[in-house]
């Protein structure tokens, strides 16, 4: 280990300091000569304790509030999911209920999560699609908390692809008042339109009139609310009716599939 350890050193200095500090110790223990030093030490200890405790309390309160916040967030998310599921269920009741053919549809729809939805494409381009986390049977209506949003058209592994009502590839026979009309997506968000001969319109159609599914396509049952009439344009003998959809697919990550249509 140590190679240069000296054998000789001044023992006198050691003995001198032993005597010296013995005297100091004696006087300090009898008369508290250095009590001020101990007071300083105590004040340092108290101050540092205070600082440490304050800092610890601060961080623990931050941690507790964060944990509480996370818990509340989770609770709020769960409540929101439940609320949306109830809204989706309520959608049937809000719709033209007596016309719904299948009573089994009133039962709980299967819920799923949106895993991929290109919002930019939804605004810019014609084909509106989204992927959801469940590959249910094909050609089933899909809704969210605000209403019908589209149908399941393809399975990709465990995922399902939804074609939205507003997609230019999507066709939906609708009922406006007592008149039938074959609507299709325009590639514009939340909008579909249909063109029909004026002679085929049975009664007056007005702006804001509610539009329902006709049940003719075989996928969507009759009587589900689709949206309302936004604009009517006369083109000679024909009329183009623009319908604003009731459901916005962007409002929630939860969707519900009606499996028994």
């Amino acid at each position: 280990m140590a190679s240069g350890t000296p054998l000789k050193f001044s023992k006198f200095s050691y003995i001198f300091f032993i005597v010296f500090f013995s005297v100091i110790l004696f006087f300090d223990s009898k008369n508290n000569v250095f009590s001020s030093l101990r007071v300083i030490q105590a004040s340092i200890v108290i101050t540092s304790d205070l600082l440490v405790n304050q800092t610890k309390n601060f961080f623990s309160s931050v941690y507790v509030s964060q944990t509480e916040k996370q818990k509340l967030k989770k609770e709020a998310r769960e409540l929101k999911n439940k609320y949306e599921a109830l809204l989706a269920k309520n959608f049937f009741l809000e719709s033209n209920a007596p016309n719904i053919e299948s009573q089994s549809m009133r039962s709980n729809p299967t819920s799923a999560k949106i895993v991929n939805f290109n919002a930019y494409k939804y605004i810019c381009c014609g084909v509106h699609e989204m992927l959801i986390s469940k590959g249910a049977p094909l050609f089933r209506p899909v809704l969210n908390a605000s209403g019908l949003i589209g149908q399941l058209v393809e399975r990709q592994g465990n995922l399902g692809k939804i074609l939205l009502l507003s997609s230019s590839k999507h066709f939906l026979p609708v009922l406006i008042g007592s008149s039938y009309c074959n609507a299709s997506g325009k590639g514009i968000p939340m909008t579909i339109s249909c063109r029909t001969d004026v002679s085929e319109i049975n009664e007056t159609i007005f702006r804001g009139q509610l539009v329902y599914t006709s049940g003719l396509g075989g996928i969507f049952p009759k009587g589900l609310k689709v949206g309302d009439v936004k604009e009517i344009t006369l083109l000679g003998d024909a009329a183009e009716i623009v319908i604003e959809l009731a459901a916005d697919p962007r409002i929630s990550p939860n969707v519900y599939i009606i499996e028994e249509a």
Binding site: M1, A2, T5, L7, Y14, I24, F34, Q41, A42
Partner: protein, 160 residues
């Protein structure tokens, strides 16, 4: 000895003091008192008697007195005495095995411990404390020896 090495020695003593006080407050048993500071002090006196000068010994002792709010001289006297023993028998101690050195150190630690409690703070003196201190010193010595040797070899390599 460079400032860095001086700092390492004093920091190791301060670290040992923090360990001691943490263990005491954590365990909170009347008989538990571990003298890690003494062990670190023994190591530096044993491994670097030439560098661990009397001035440094006095400085460490006074600092420890201040930190522990003891009467000035309590630890200083003990440290000077230990330093005197180690300097006098530095070469001879190296002939012993680690177990023998651990026993010698435990004995010295017990002497320091007894001096501190019996003469300065007799109200805190307990035989169980003394026995615990003796055996804990034997147990902890190899650990402290290893840590301090690592520090010396890696950060204070000019101390030989």
């Amino acid at each position: 000895m460079s400032f860095k090495e001086l700092l390492i020695i004093n920091l190791s003593l301060f670290g040992a003091y923090l360990i001691d006080s943490s263990i005491i407050s954590f365990v909170n048993q009347s008989f538990v008192e571990i003298s890690t500071v003494y062990l670190v002090f023994f190591y530096w006196s044993y491994a670097a008697p030439q560098q661990f000068t009397l001035a440094l010994v006095i400085l460490s002792g006074i600092l420890l007195d201040f930190l522990t709010a003891s009467f000035i001289g309590t630890h200083t006297l003990i440290f000077i005495f230990f330093s005197l023993v180690f300097r006098s028998y530095a070469y001879r101690l190296r002939l012993f095995s680690h177990l023998q050195i651990a026993l010698i150190i435990a004995l010295l630690s017990s002497i320091g411990f007894t001096f501190k409690y019996l003469f300065i703070y007799p109200e805190g003196y307990l035989y169980s404390k003394l026995i615990f201190n003796f055996f804990s010193t034997i147990i902890f010595w190899p650990l402290i020896f290893g840590i301090c040797r690592y520090l010396r070899r890696h950060y204070a390599y000019t101390i030989k």
